[in-house]
Symmetry: C2
Subunit: 109 residues, 2 copies
Amino acid sequence: MQATELEWSQTEKDVARHAFDQAYDREIDDLVTIVRTQATKISALTDLWSLHDFLSARRHEIDGKYDFKYPGLLFVFARLVHDGWMKTEDLVGLEKDKIAKISALARMQ
Amino acid sequence: MQATELEWSQTEKDVARHAFDQAYDREIDDLVTIVRTQATKISALTDLWSLHDFLSARRHEIDGKYDFKYPGLLFVFARLVHDGWMKTEDLVGLEKDKIAKISALARMQ
């Protein structure tokens, strides 16, 4: 698959951006909940640094993962579908072929 | 002042270690409280990364500050006194000259 050669109509671009933002919001909401819960359990230095390590890792992962560029976007979306932050229903409006490729890639991971 | 030439009796070493550990525990307890409070206020990504930045800075500072080596210990203690984590009362048992130097250095900072 040559993701870099795909064409995106304006409607598809709007759908993709919305789905991307939704996935991002879902993952951040989840992370906020996790951190708030973890923070209530902090009682010692090791807990503090564990929280810090956890945030460092998630920040690095999220910064790298949410990269909205059309070349490669199917891979980004496949990962988000695989990880549960994006649903294929969010992608209605994209060409069926793109949705099929995202689903296939998500299953391969 | 030549801190490296100071001699420490066993009693003084015990007092110093205890005072050092007390200061550390106080600072960590304070940090735990701050982080738990900050965490309850997290609602967005910027809050998460602010907490992460805050923890990164405090970890770096604490790792560097709590260095228990006899050469230079008066400077370490002076900083802890200055920052409010160590009290001169904690140092009872050290030579008066050492306490006076720590107090003087703490005021200079």
